[in-house]
């Protein structure tokens, strides 16, 4: 379980997250929605320890991410996929995927690379397994990014606006992979702008506004009268649908 309690985070004078409470249990797919600057991405960066939190507590399977010793254990349990892929440019797709299993989990290299190839095959990249990131399209890069996160067999997958840098066609290919993962029971925290997609795969929706979580509802309820009763949510949904 990922448990967030009373999380506060500010950059200088700007308060980005102001008292967030959220729990994500095994098997859930939680989408985090909200307008730009609402603190969605920062939330993910706090969970994987890339940002130091100012107050509150985040634990991943009871490992406290603000304690350096426990952070590495917490990180072993979660995998992150980035908006801008952040692949290692000097490594092939296979090497990107196999690096952490070899270095962190001490899997023998041969085995790790075989598993990496299998993962890449499952996302339709068996042909491009030995290509370097620069030789791949954006959608292909993000698929490698997803494989890299999955290679560590994480209990939780953290997805930070993973389709924002892709054109519609490539977005579709990445989303279909995520839909499959969701169906297969992978626990996900999904920060996104893709409302319709979030609606189709998530079990729950968390809505952030100005650093506060103003809704945390089962998907069905969020998109029903209950969600619409919240003025900010209604405003957001109508605006996003117009776009």
């Amino acid at each position: 379980m990922i448990s967030i309690a009373g999380l506060r985070k500010s950059f200088g004078a700007a308060i980005v997250l102001n008292g967030i409470d959220l729990e994500i249990r095994q098997g859930e797919v939680v989408s985090v929605l909200g307008s730009s600057g609402s603190g969605k991405s920062t939330l993910i960066r706090c969970i994987n320890g890339l940002e130091k939190i100012d107050a509150g507590k985040i634990t991943v399977d009871n490992f406290d991410v603000s304690k350096p010793r426990e952070l590495s254990e917490a990180r072993k349990r979660s995998g992150t996929v980035f908006q801008l892929f952040n692949l290692y440019p000097h490594m092939t797709a296979v090497q990107n995927v196999a690096l952490a299993p070899v270095e962190v989990l001490k899997v023998p290299r041969k085995q790790a690379e075989a598993e990496a190839r299998e993962l890449l095959r499952s996302v339709g990249l068996s042909e491009r397994a030995d290509a370097y990131p620069a030789q791949l399209s954006g959608g292909q890069r993000q698929r490698v990014g997803i494989c890299r996160a999955l290679a560590m067999k994480p209990s939780y997958l953290l997805l930070d606006e993973v389709t924002s840098a892709l054109d519609p066609e490539m977005t579709a290919e990445v989303l279909s992979i995520l839909a499959n993962l969701a169906k297969g029971g992978t626990t996900m925290v999904f920060v996104t702008h893709e409302i319709e997609f979030a609606r189709s795969i998530s079990t729950r929706i968390a809505f952030l506004d100005k650093g506060q979580m103003i809704a945390d509802l089962p998907t069905k309820e969020f998109f029903s009268d209950k969600g619409m009763a919240l003025p900010r949510v209604a405003q957001f949904l109508s605006k996003m649908r117009k776009d």
Binding site: R75, G79, T80, F82, Y88, P89, H90, V104, Q135, M152
Partner: protein
Amino acid sequence: MKFDLSILAKHVPFLLEGAWLTFQTCLLAVLGSLILGTLVAAARTSASPQLNRLSAVYVDIFRNIPFIVQLFFFYFGLPEIGIYIDAFTTGVIAMSIAGGAFTSDVIRSGILAIDPGIIEAAQVSGLKKSTIFRKIVMPIALRASVRPLGSVFINLILTSSILSTITLNELTGSAKIVASQTFRPFEVYFVLLVAYAALTWFVSILIGMLHRYLNRNQAEGAV
């Protein structure tokens, strides 16, 4: 006076011996500079303020004092504190230390140019700091730095001529001997100058090839 190169012919083997010594010093100094430069670049980009300051001071000092002064400092100074090493070793050490300062600057800017997102990706996948430095940071920074590092190494080749002032008979030192034996300093130093220029030109071609080879997979859209 006639410009006559033929008188140099019988001194070529002797000069080649000197060139061989130049090659050895430069090779060792390049290795030394790379090792030292990498360590110092790591220190300068580390999170520790003490290491930052210490490494910055090292670079600042050795970049702003003439090499010949550094060389004399070691050559005359080391015996003073009971360290007796030959001119060759002294030269290699001095060149490595000076070269290390320049090398660390190049590697440091290579490191600073790395997209922070790539480092973050490595951090969240649980890699240790040392692993990230060895497997991610250095390979990327070195690939990006081949050309500027090449300039530093070419400068080291030119700098190695100064070792002739501490009795090391590398290429320039041997040429001095030949010049005084033949009484033809103009021819000797003219050939020497062209030889150095040809050598550095050749090295710069090798560096260009190395750069293209190491970055062959980094061009956008290439298949």
